[in-house]
Symmetry: C2
Subunit: 238 residues, 2 copies
């Protein structure tokens, strides 16, 4: 171990679950409670859902470091924002501080953590603590098995190429979980209708106050960004 | 609420995470700590991994109810075992006791909980508390993003029809998570090789003592039942 490494803290990505504060794991809670620095992404609207979800478990004496990330901005602007965030985190790590990054759901499943980890792992220790992901929390909210036996599960970002989504839907029976479905409810409904799949639900504000579960055909065309659609196209579906 | 319902307890499926005891959520821990009855499935070998993982969080005064389930038995024998287990649980629920069922990973993702819940929900309140699933825990163990941006994730039971697995692998770039890969390492390796996918890893004893992560090409042909293979066929894979 070099002189620099001896001083360096660890960068932890802590999965919080997708909404309900109690879905944090004991492991993430333990590491959060002893962190020297706690950081989280702040979107263009100033919203910081991860910070809000972690609130009951925030340590008293940690340095709080909100990190502005212009989600949806041009790639160059996003890249500059992540470079700046990584630089600010790295300074704390180099000073020997343990840094916890709050992640909605799971840190390594479509999260901003991976972009920071890729930059920081070059010179620092980086550890991801897994969390409950949207697919599992949505199935629990619906009280429906996500998959049984030899069922296949597909997790599909709703902003993927529509032709690709169509091909995956057509490929055969599976449970289909569409993430970030908010602006894409109409597209998903059309693709599922074309495939004859009617057993589908939209979930908004999963695990939060105002959680709303409706049949997909009744979902509003402009639902919240983090809405989820689950379609049961497996042989066990009613 | 009828007279019968007033007395009835709730049947909880508590996700424990796939190995590491600390991956239990605060919510599952809270419900486990106040349960009147705690039950779990016991396989033909007598193994009760769920009970073992929950050990640090087991309440002192609960009734412990191991439930024999002949995993891998003929359907009629399995059905009889689940009917018997549901009957034993229902008696406690009818007496007004809260019953917690310990689930590896997530209760509604390929778990035995769904089979009990289907029987018990007819007359009792049934609630699933989601848990960290194998895909997320395996990605954390590998320190690799499971998916980013518009990547697709497919969760594939290794005992599904091999032609179907082949078709899903061929359908296009995705992160492929093969569950219960133990006896199927050779098949998975062949299918991935045929598709030109070489960036793949096998994980055994995930989150437990003796956790072992190897490149798929180095994995033993007969790995433990709950082994997982992750293949990165997305454009971001090295």
């Amino acid at each position: 171990m070099g002189v620099g490494e001896a001083m360096s803290g660890t960068f932890y990505g802590l999965g919080l679950g997708p909404g309900d504060a109690e879905l944090i794991t004991v492991k993430s809670w333990r590491l959060l409670s002893t962190a020297d620095v706690v950081c989280w992404p702040v979107g263009p609207s100033g919203a910081a859902l991860a910070r809000q979800i972690a609130d009951p478990f925030m340590p008293d004496n940690a340095i709080e470091l909100p990190l502005p990330v212009p989600f949806g901005a041009a790639p160059a602007d996003l890249d500059a924002a992540y470079a700046d965030a990584a630089h600010r985190i790295a300074r704390h790590l180099s000073d020997g501080r343990e840094v916890a990054y709050l992640c909605l759901g799971d840190p390594l499943t479509y999260g901003s953590f991976a972009l920071l980890a890729a930059r920081l792992a070059i010179a620092h220790r980086v550890v991801a603590i897994p969390g409950v992901s949207t697919a599992q929390a949505a199935a629990a909210a619906l009280s429906r098995p996500l998959a049984q036996g030899t069922d296949i599960i597909k997790v599909l970002p709703a902003n993927a190429d529509p032709d690709r989504l169509q091909a995956e839907i057509a490929a055969g029976d599976a449970t289909l979980v569409f993430l970030k479905a908010g602006r894409h409810i109409g597209l998903i409904r059309r693709l599922l209708n074309e495939a004859g799949i009617r057993d589908a639900f939209a979930v908004a504000h999963l695990g939060q106050d105002g959680e709303r579960i409706v049949a997909l055909k009744e979902a509003e065309l402009r639902s919240p960004y983090f809405s989820t659609v689950i379609a049961f196209a497996g042989s066990r579906a009613p």
